[in-house]
């Protein structure tokens, strides 16, 4: 049976993950999408971290969180570099506008 604090943290992590994913799909600004991605990464990290509670030393879950933090940061950095390139090329960060300009 899960402890109450584990349940709270897992629920928060899952909620943040879905909030981030939903916000990525809704967002009309690429910068906001990257921020939403960061929120999703936060949620995933929190849920992964909380999943290791109550099974002795939670080394595996912590190792996965280390991996997730560093991979998430790398992805975000590349995303930001792509945003700069897109802005230089199209002069806007609105995905709909960029799609229209590409045609």
């Amino acid at each position: 049976m899960m402890a109450l604090d584990q349940t709270i943290l897992m629920a928060t992590g899952t909620a943040l993950l879905f909030l981030g994913i939903a916000s990525i799909t809704i967002s009309k600004n690429l910068l906001k999408s990257i921020m939403s991605f960061q929120v999703a990464v936060f949620g995933a990290n929190l849920a992964l971290f909380a999943s290791g509670f109550g099974y002795g030393p939670r080394l595996l879950s912590d190792a996965f969180v280390v991996l997730s933090v560093l991979v998430g940061a790398s992805v975000e950095a590349v995303g930001l570099a792509i945003i700069v390139v897109v802005y230089r090329k199209y002069g806007t960060l609105n995905p709909d506008e960029i799609r229209r300009l590409r045609r």
Partner: protein, 158 residues
């Protein structure tokens, strides 16, 4: 009981900061709220006995990524970075202070219930180095790849 209280506080603070970040119409406000969210997450990891993760989260997200986001905001000029975020900052400061205070209290009182009283950072590092070296190798490859991609993208002429 204290461990549940800390979990609730961390969750509440995370929800507040993330909600402010996602709902704000100004990119500068979102950035500041996201910075606070990273700090809260780092404090949460530290309170639950993993200082390494807390430090890593704060260094990468609150440090590096926030600065990177700020520089991209300045390059693209997407947001006028005025002091309009003062209210957000003022609202988040007491929240962060409360979390920090309770966290310190639970760590130093030694009556932390479900919370860990000892730091497991060294054990995690040892575990990674001895039993999961492939993960570290993958990390290095991903990091090196991302750095090469960033240099290539930013060095491109118009």
């Amino acid at each position: 009981m204290e461990s549940e209280l800390v979990a609730l506080l961390i969750s509440g603070a995370l929800f507040v900061t993330v909600a402010v970040s996602l709902l704000s119409t100004k990119v500068s406000n979102s950035l500041i709220a996201l910075f606070y969210a990273s700090i809260v997450l780092g404090i949460g990891f530290t309170v639950y006995g993993d200082g390494l993760l807390g430090l890593l989260t704060m260094i990468t997200f609150a440090g590096a990524i926030s600065v990177l986001l700020l520089s991209v905001v300045l390059i693209t000029g997407e947001s006028k970075l005025d002091l309009g975020a003062r209210r957000v900052a003022l609202g988040a400061i007491p929240l962060a202070a409360a979390i920090g205070g309770i966290s310190l209290l639970t760590v130093f009182s030694g009556q932390s219930g479900g919370l860990a009283t000892s730091d497991s950072s060294l054990a995690v590092l040892n575990f990674l180095w001895t039993l999961r070296p492939w993960d570290l190798l993958i990390l290095i490859v991903v990091f090196a790849g991302s750095m090469v991609a960033i240099v290539s993208l930013l060095g491109r002429e118009e």
